[in-house]
Symmetry: C2
Subunit: 235 residues, 2 copies
């Protein structure tokens, strides 16, 4: 069965966490809106009935529709061989993924602290204030935590269950932060050596390396979550 | 086995979603930090090893530690008889819970749009701007969605699987919004009649009614997520 992934075409966004899992596993999937356009998403979101998703990404697997990034990964993980084998380990993985999701939401709000409905340029001053706090307090708190988790699990993988979707998502967050805040990450990445090694290791996984070099990998850009606005970056 | 819930004493916060599930099921649980103080949380968060949580709430069940509200509820749901019986239904419930979590995060940021580390009074102007957008666009979008989900599932419960933890969390969100934004909810609640009925129905569930009248229910206050600042409210 081919998985059908629905996410906005033209940006990595939250859909990228799902793409990385599907690509790493070599799963058959269709990136629906990149073929059919964003209308395919709106048709699903606007459909009647209790099972319509609130927002992309969502995944269709036969008769099953799964929404919310972390939920999709919890569903796909065991099917793709990308989850810990036991329930307790899966709960750990899901908790880490949700903590990554919290970090991603905070990254989004560095450039949109007031309203998603406003342009960045119309909330730039608030964005500078929020980004300053993010880089001074929040990013180090999160990255210090994930560094501790990684070293506590042995240093190779984010969970004791071996390579999982959490490693792929951690890679994506590190790539995104380095894109959005190159000065900050350049100055500080030495504080998180295990994470830096994980980032390189994931990038070298054969299917990930092929994916990153392909046209299927949408480049980071200023319509996604991780945006490079130099005025928001700082040592 | 008695569940051990860790959450900040003195506020409902995200811990309240877990408390409501435990209370509705009549489960044996200890609200650890209300007895032992916040230090019990800090000791766990600061502990070494890959299984330390990033932040409360987290739940300890024997040897298992589960973090993140939606993850805790996905774990407890089947054990407490508060989850749909099948995997597809559980994935729907988890997706709805995560969408409620997104709404809760946006509510938090109505009063703290710039930094959690700053006082409300030091970001009030940005809070007014963010709250204006929240009430004009975001809250109606979320509540309209949940109204559609509820009516699509038959009108009685948020999922086709009957009464679940999602109904309890939906109740809590509606209570919180009515506390924080009484003018807005008073003016607009007629737009979401099925949600208003669900809110009343959950409040009348015997164990929930007893809980709400007990000292275990911490009142809403201005240290939680749902805060009543009249200047942020609007029709």
């Amino acid at each position: 069965m081919t998985y059908r992934l629905y996410y906005w075409p033209g940006l990595q966004g939250r859909g990228e966490f799902v793409r990385l899992a599907l690509e790493d596993a070599g799963a058959a999937y269709e990136d629906v809106a990149r073929g059919e356009g964003a209308k395919a998403i709106m048709d699903m979101v606007g459909s009647a009935g209790g099972r319509a998703p609130f927002a992309p990404p969502f995944l269709v697997d036969g008769e099953t529709l799964i929404s919310q990034t972390a939920n999709i990964l919890a569903y796909l993980g065991p099917r793709l061989g990308l989850a810990p084998p036991d329930e307790a380990g899966r709960a750990v993985a899901a908790g880490l993924q949700l903590t990554l999701a919290d970090l991603v939401a905070e990254v989004h709000d560095t450039h949109h602290p007031i309203a998603s409905s406003l342009r960045y340029e119309d909330q730039r001053e608030a964005a500078k204030a929020r980004s300053g706090d993010f880089l001074a307090r929040r990013a180090p708190k999160y990255l210090g935590y994930f560094e501790k988790v990684l070293t506590g699990a042995g240093g190779a993988f984010m969970t004791a269950g071996g390579h999982t979707y959490v490693d792929l998502s951690m890679f994506q967050v590190l790539e995104g932060l380095a894109y959005a805040f190159p000065r900050h990450i350049g100055t500080n990445e030495g504080r998180w050596p295990a994470l830096a090694a994980l980032r390189q290791r994931v990038a070298r996984r054969p299917r990930i390396a092929l994916y990153l070099a392909s046209e299927r990998r949408i480049p980071f850009n200023e319509t996604g979550i991780f945006r490079h606005y130099p005025e928001l970056d700082a040592d």
